[in-house]
Symmetry: C2
Subunit: 481 residues, 2 copies
């Protein structure tokens, strides 16, 4: 009896799914409702292969109206939707658990460039690099910049409030957005595509959707801010005794060069060594090894010589104060790029050294040196021989606190310790008023950490908001909350 | 019968109110539950006397726990709460319609100054000027600055997302906040007092309460951002032919001096003339009258001479391009202050000229000159003899589009035309993608405009959120929505 009932229910579901697919094909064209397993395969997994999801179909709507129609149909059928952009996320936020995958690939138009207002209206499917290029064409800068910029889409950047290398100067993605267009979970279209610097007309809906990881609706377009393109940059790598003096140096750079400071990255020697050993074309920038390094860049719309003078004045004072023990100044654009290449190779260069356990954490800037010291000590104490390789956005208080396994340990044995290291590192971070997810988000990977560390009232409030906006729970279920 | 029933209901309500007041006195002390009409008087009105409200009592809780206890008791009794800070708002957002007034005056502690993290944790009742002073003590700048800074409180600034004169460089209040502590409508305390530059752990709750005008809860404390104190400033007032060339000049200043541009204010001759005629100690800064003026200021943590050189280079190019026809460079701090005094007297100087009708509007920066031209033409067309005095934050697209009455018209006759001018001006603004409330908020005054101009889906969503967080509708009822 039970078996028959289940089969009957299964047949019902199959029939309902088939009906929905038929409606979706009628709405956006049969060519844009993909159900072939070969078409689905790449969209069921994320980059690191941590999860494999399942889905009924991929939907490729052409524009906002089609997105709204797809959502309306799925809402009526009670079928969940996972929105996907470039599928470059690192926390499983785009992995489907049944339902349909809605991809924003065809919403790839730059609707408007308003150079005088310093804004651009972009659709969710625009590749980040193509937005950067379009800004450059009008002599402007869109400062959001991250490793996956050649394939990630702005819709994903918005939904995850992406960080990257320009946060110190320009802020997170959230800070680069003026207006949004969103398809709500029932198919209504919120039109808040304003390009205004000042607009106090009710609740700030924009920031509710930015960083919500697709759980409250689908961002289909946004008005983003552009900035004047800098015409000069001064790039220096300095060596110092460790994170404590690096923090003093950061304070000096910030107070003397606040207007023009764009980059202050910290690199532990252990991390730099791996880049030197494994990074293509990388070599030690100095004659001898030092405990730690900082990559510092000033950029300006003013003259190069004035900027160089500001860098030199600050460095001179830092040498005198003992904060800096050696320095390489990028004298040409090629030399500046070479210093950046060391920074950019840090992550990949850890791979040949075996498995690593990664943490994307932030603390108040005043605690960032304490965190490096305490984190290294606690982790080595737990596992002698461990090789911590901390580096990252020191000036934002955001470190990639990566741990390479002891040289003689098996990868699998090491990775089995992931939860233990999470607890050690995240407890220290939490104790310092920090965050266990600085820029990558929650997705599927960090839901347990969210429940463990987040203020319970904040969790309740998030649930109340989710319930109010998506009462059926159809938008990217199983993520964040 | 009916009379008896009503009286009985009235007696019931009186008894319930008395019971609540007793509970409140027990919770925060009898001295801090004020019911004397003399104590209430000042708190029932707003500055311009547009409304007179009524309230049962004023509550003066000492700290967040007491605020929470007051809110819990009122929630249980079903009695509305109007939070008030300095009561300096201009849109009636703090006027009570029954219930209690909760004032944040005693929550006036600066809980923490973290100079290295460049943050300060402040309670809602801190006066803005005292926060600015505390920042200065550690060599830092809290850039929020507005006319009422000597009496307004940061809680009110947060609840209204205040703007002011430093938005071009540092953003609105929203952009100056990292974390908040909020007492929710049922008395729960949301603790999100983080001081992190990067923190992607769920929905952005902070921005939901900032700018909500007290309708979703009471912000009791916040972590605000500090900035390095500039050590140099270059201040210039230039004369030009009108808003169209002023916009070209703004573009030039922004592209050449993006790192250091802090102020770009526009002043119509009509507005400047009133400041010259009525402002204490004000005189014409130039030898002859011109159609329009811009007040431009660069500030920097770098050297004064380098900053002066950047201002001069930009001005020279602007003269050559015909954008500027005359200029006064502030050669001393006193001269710089004198140029600012002209700007600061614009609003008050309109009073001796009779009634004025004011609009706090914004448009995309690319439309700001078009708006000045179209707005003046349409208003004069409607009422010949009218004297438009536009001035304001040109670089943010935010103008105070003030209209002084025709010289020979009675104030009351002129003010009767307020709705007509609202429709004329706000229609032009709306057509240009602008906002009818750039920095002052909605309160009671602009609720009808909100319903008229706001995207209907945005209004629905605001109502859904209000319903989810304050289902009993007890937080500042009759405001915003």
């Amino acid at each position: 009896m039970t078996t028959t009932l289940q089969s009957s229910a299964g047949r019902d579901k199959q029939a309902r799914d088939a009906e929905l697919l038929g409606q979706l094909r009628a709405a956006i064209g049969a060519a844009h409702v993909l159900t072939d397993p070969n078409d689905l395969a790449d969209r069921l997994i994320e980059d690191r292969g941590l999860y494999k999801g399942n889905a009924l179909a991929i939907l490729r709507p052409a524009d906002t109206a089609q997105v709204a129609e797809c959502v309306r149909l799925c809402f009526a059928a009670g079928v969940p939707i996972v929105p996907q952009g470039g599928n470059t996320g690192l926390v499983g936020g785009g992995v489907p658990e049944g339902g349909v995958i809605l991809i924003t690939q065809r919403l790839n138009k730059i609707r408007e460039v308003d150079a005088v207002n310093a804004t651009m209206t972009v659709e969710a499917g625009c590749i980040l690099a193509s937005i950067q290029a379009a800004a450059e064409e009008v002599g402007a800068l869109f400062p959001l910049s991250l490793a996956s910029e050649g394939s990630c889409q702005i819709g994903g950047n918005l939904s995850t409030n992406a960080g990257g290398t320009a946060v110190l100067r320009y802020g997170n993605t959230r800070d680069l957005v003026l207006g949004v267009e969103v398809v709500l979970p029932d198919g209504r279209i919120l039109n808040d595509l304003n390009g205004l610097r000042k607009n106090n007309t009710g609740y700030d809906l924009r920031n509710l959707f930015i960083g919500a990881e697709g759980t409250l609706g689908i961002i289909t377009a946004a008005v983003i801010k552009l900035f004047p393109q800098p015409v000069s940059r001064a790039t220096t790598m300095v060596a110092c005794d460790g994170p404590d003096v690096a923090l003093l140096l950061f304070e000096r750079m910030r107070s003397q060069n606040a207007d023009v400071l764009s980059t202050f990255e910290y690199i532990d020697r252990s991390a730099l060594q791996m880049a030197i050993d494994h990074g293509p074309g990388c070599s030690d920038p100095m004659m001898q090894a030092y405990p730690a390094y900082c990559l510092i860049e000033l950029t300006s719309t003013g003259a190069q010589d004035a900027l160089d003078a500001r860098m030199e004045a600050a460095l001179e004072a830092a040498f005198e104060a003992g904060e800096v023990i050696d320095a390489v100044i990028g004298a040409s654009e090629a030399q500046k790029d070479a210093l950046w290449a060391l920074r950019e190779n840090l992550s990949d260069a850890q791979k040949p050294e075996g498995a690593s356990i990664k943490h994307d954490v932030s603390v108040p800037v005043s605690r960032v040196a304490d965190f490096v010291n305490a984190g290294k000590a606690a982790c080595i104490d737990y596992m002698p021989g461990l090789r911590p390789c901390p580096f990252g956005h020191f000036g934002d208080g955001n470190l990639h606190f990566n741990l390479s396994r002891p040289k003689d340990m098996a990868d699998a044995d090491f990775l089995a310790e992931y939860p233990a290291f999470n607890r050690i590192v995240h407890d220290i971070v939490h104790e310092m008023g920090g965050s266990f997810s600085a820029e990558h988000g929650i997705g599927k990977v960090k839901r347990a950490e969210l429940r463990h560390y987040k203020d319970p009232v904040a969790l309740q409030l998030m649930t109340q908001i989710k319930q109010a906006i998506d009462p059926a729970g159809l938008m990217n279920p199983g993520k964040v909350l």
